[in-house]
Amino acid sequence: MFDVRPVDTDYVRHRAAQFRAQVERRLDGSLTEEEFRPLRLMNGVYLQLHAYMLRIAIPYGTISPDQMRMLAHLAETYDKGYGHWTTRQNIQFNWPKLVEIPDMLDKLASVGMHAIQTSGNTIRNVTTDAFAGAAADEYMDPRPYAELLRSWSTDHAEFQFLPRKFKIAISGAQRDRALVAAHDIGLRLIQKDGQTGFEVWVGGGLGRTPMLGKVIRDFLPEADLLAYIEAIISTYNLSGRRDNKYKARIKITVHERGLDVFKAEVEEEFQNRRRDFHGADREALAIFRDRFAAPAFRNGPTDGYEAERARNGAFRSWTDTNLHPHKVDGYASVIVTFKTHGETPGDASADQMRLLADLAEQYGHDDLRISHDQNVVLPHVHKSDLPAVYAALQKAGLAVANAGLTSDIIACPGMDYCTLATARSIPIAQEIATHFKDAGLEDEIGKLNIRISGCINACGHHHLGHIGILGLDRAGVENYQITLGGDGYDIPAIGERAGAGFPYDQVVPAVDRLLRAYLEVRADASERFIDAYRRLGPAPFKAALYPEPAHA
């Protein structure tokens, strides 16, 4: 069993007490809103369209059952009974009262959780593969390094006022499931000449100027991780643009100055920084490695699992879509999708959270993950326990066999909650999911990534969707642009805009035409939408989206 609880609980409690005092000073007028705003943002408190919002960090998406139960308690006590999984493996509560947030932070601190650096121009939550430590194709568990980065970056004095927010992702598997190319810094654990290290990517990001990152170092020995990351961020801290918010991310710095120039500065700074690391990071890493030691896997028969698959078609279908291959024989990782057709992508009720905590304790070696696609993963479940897990999930309406399918949509909160949004995303996702279920086409369409953002900031990762949908405000009316051919995984690609946008009520019919055209042109049932798009190019898909008007 691993221990995800940060060791610095005293610090977290101290920060919660500090925030309580700041809220008191805001309420008694000692602090103006202008003075208070950056303080609340440093603690993950936003003011949204209808209410405050509290974003809580779930470091690299790893959470224990008692922490999950605390989230359930907060949802019921301080919110409206639910929370929302985000695309950066965090959770957001949409309805907290400012006056109650200090109590929420105290309770979070009691289980080693907090909301520090979930906002502001700082290093945000380090994200990774939801199957870390479990995936069959994993070279090495990236979480000890993710924890090293988390503890190093938390309250790092030099990096509290960066030109813009800064996101790091780390992947340790053959298939990148952490979207390394779409982060300010992306790290891939690799091996070279028997030595472990990182392929280091820099300057990726979505938003209004989407860019895939570039490899700044083919191979960085793992011992140099912090010194090199510190060199990159300190170089960016000095040379990143502060005159224009929209040009302040590191992707613009690298793009405008050129990778070679930027890299030369980083390498020079790296030599300086390296001298300041005297082994404390290595000692910490050793502790983190112990903390993330693999659980005591059991060796048992899986006959019951096979028998249930043969007997129960719904169970078979669920195991076909919602399991991920595990590195240990007899085990699987379970994807619990929070994408029930017609429901809000990524929303979890307090009861559902408690069920997941119970299942993790009973069947999952006390381990839970929040995935970037707004689902929850039980990373280590013995196959003989899968029928029981399935039955419990089914009772709670969480056994929907749709992982990776049409309805497994990533959608940001959009204009239903977000003050930056220019259009809604949630109802578009709900309607697409329901439409294709009712049409009976979801299984036939197969693997498909639909990603929806309610504004150009792209929290819904629309650029990485095989089909991306971007909601905009066009002359006071919601309008949706469709992009095609994006991919966050196998061949990272930014989707290309297909053409003119669609009004709200035309989005589902447009996606319907698009997917029916795909079914017509695909080579066979094994050719995914994205593969057909790559083989044929955009023409047949654009023709489906924008049919020629019939001439009278």
């Binding site: 007028g29 209808h50 209410a51 006056v99």
Partner: protein, 113 residues
Amino acid sequence: MSKAFVPTAAKPGVITANDLREGHNLWMCEDGWTADPAQATLFEDEAIADLALLKAVGQSNIVVGPYLVEARRGPNGPEPTHFREAFRQRGPSNYFHGIQTLKQAKQSEASNV
């Protein structure tokens, strides 16, 4: 404080903000602030609206982020002209939460009288 919009008799506006302590949406009305947008004061004059907005900014112990936004005169009070404000006045579309619950409570109160 934001003031991108200038109200006129033809294009009036309301002043809206969020409650400091709890976060919910509020509208400036005759005797302070209300959670019912239909009760909001409709401003048709730039100077009067500017003064009211200054007053709102001065009430930072009650509200956060006041701003003036276009509205139209409706049969039951001011109505939003842009969908963003319509969502603020209604609540989210995925759950029956937010202002819409207050409206329902008010209606059920009226029907019980």
